[in-house]
Symmetry: C2
């Protein structure tokens, strides 16, 4: 559970970094499992623009036994329940691979606008629990935040592509996002909020608000910067209708999660 | 002139940052002049992959009166003469625009290999004098160095594209370089040398060795990160034959530079 100072930091800044959440053994095992998912044939698997480098894998908890246990790990699940003051389920899970020298940009955006407009999620009663699978440094494309920007709520953002196309969700897994923020919006927000990189050691947890403005740059280092993100939604915040997006982007199983008893590998 | 500690730092690390070299007035004037060059019709003007954003301008001292005076400014010229222990001329001058939210990567590379193999420069008796036209921060794609990597000399690097084509130099102004280093080379070098970002205030000067391994990432900030680079070559190191590359990449005027008397704007 998070203490009062941590809760205050999450609510004030919109994010919180908690070091040493994963044991070295769990970290090593998860990295192996992620490599297996990169190679597996799965519609949630996405490549970079070069057509060969893995960019990420979506819907991990739906295709991996290990991930289906991980999302129930008390160290992740309890803080999510605490922040949302309710039972939760997983709306999305993914790994951003951000490969050495090849991992591309995620433009500045807010998450909730995608979940609201594309998936019909009623309210931002949802949180991201991210795990650093590698050290995140200033050089390997760390998550970048505008601290406090979640207080602005959902920003007016025009959808860039034509809405409603059969596979219009695809661009939202690539480096061009439909709801990316404009340079004008960012200039005034950065002047007001500043920028912060969520750097830290592998095994750290980063919790962040679904309205927090974030992005990440290219990975200029020869080391991968893999980030695993679990999006927990409140069971009081289930979309009324099924999403038009694939299951691996908007999970239909909204059963409240029960804490895992035993370890990840049992 | 550089003092002994500065000279030692340049020789040990391969680079040296000197703050407050440009006055606020000169800085503002240079930024205006650069904006003018971005808009002017000139073969050394290069766009980003998007086909609209300015990426940079090459051969500035050949087309701008202000730049032709700037390269003779004692604050830049004297350190270059000191480092190369001779009179010097300008082999190249350029501005990397690295525009807000749009400025793309420069892959990891060494400069001298281009000048040796493409321009026939006999030896690395050459130095880069860069001026920060904007603050360089961890977020706007600062110059990244592997400190000390110049001690390895010119690294064995295969030319990527077919050599000798009519306009084969063009790729070397874009985000794909012919002599970019491989992931394998970089992994061992970063383990040995580490990485450093040349961050600093607008108006600072960054001197760096032509064999120093460097690159830069995307600009994720809403602020430009413009960098002006003057490459001074020793008059004892003039290529024997004219380069096959355009004048704006390999200047044919090798007349030793005389220090400027008076200011940039007189």
């Amino acid at each position: 559970m998070l203490d009062d100072a941590q809760l205050r930091e999450y609510h004030d800044a919109g994010f919180l970094v908690v070091p040493d959440v994963l044991t070295p053994r769990d970290l090593a095992g998860l990295r192996d499992e992620v490599e297996r998912l990169y190679r597996a044939d799965h519609p949630g698997r996405v490549l970079e623009k070069d057509g060969t480098t893995i960019r990420g894998v979506h819907g991990c908890h739906q295709v991996s036994e290990v991930f289906s246990r991980l999302v129930r790990l008390p160290a992740l699940l309890m803080p999510a329940e605490q922040l949302l003051a309710s039972k939760v389920y997983v709306h999305q899970s993914k790994v951003n691979a951000k490969r050495a020298l090849a991992g591309d940009v995620w433009p500045w955006h807010q998450d909730y606008i995608f979940w609201e407009r594309e998936d019909g999620m009623p309210a931002p009663l949802v949180t991201n629990v991210a795990l650093l699978l590698d050290d995140a440094t200033p050089y390997n494309g760390p998550l970048l935040f505008l601290p406090g920007s979640h207080h602005m709520g959902t920003l007016p953002t025009e959808r860039r592509g034509a809405a409603g196309g059969e596979e219009s969700w695809k661009s939202n897994l690539a480096a061009d996002l439909d709801y990316a923020l404009t340079a004008g919006q960012l200039a005034s927000m950065v002047a007001r909020f500043g920028m912060r990189a969520a750097t830290g050691s592998a095994g750290s947890m980063v919790l962040f608000d679904p309205r927090l403005v974030h992005g990440s740059g290219t990975n200029m280092s020869p080391y991968d910067r893999q980030l695993l993100i679990i999006t927990y939604n409140s069971v009081d915040n289930v979309p009324d209708e099924p999403s038009r997006r694939p299951e691996f982007l908007s999970a239909s199983d909204t059963t409240p999660l029960a804490p895992l008893v035993g370890g990840l590998w049992s």
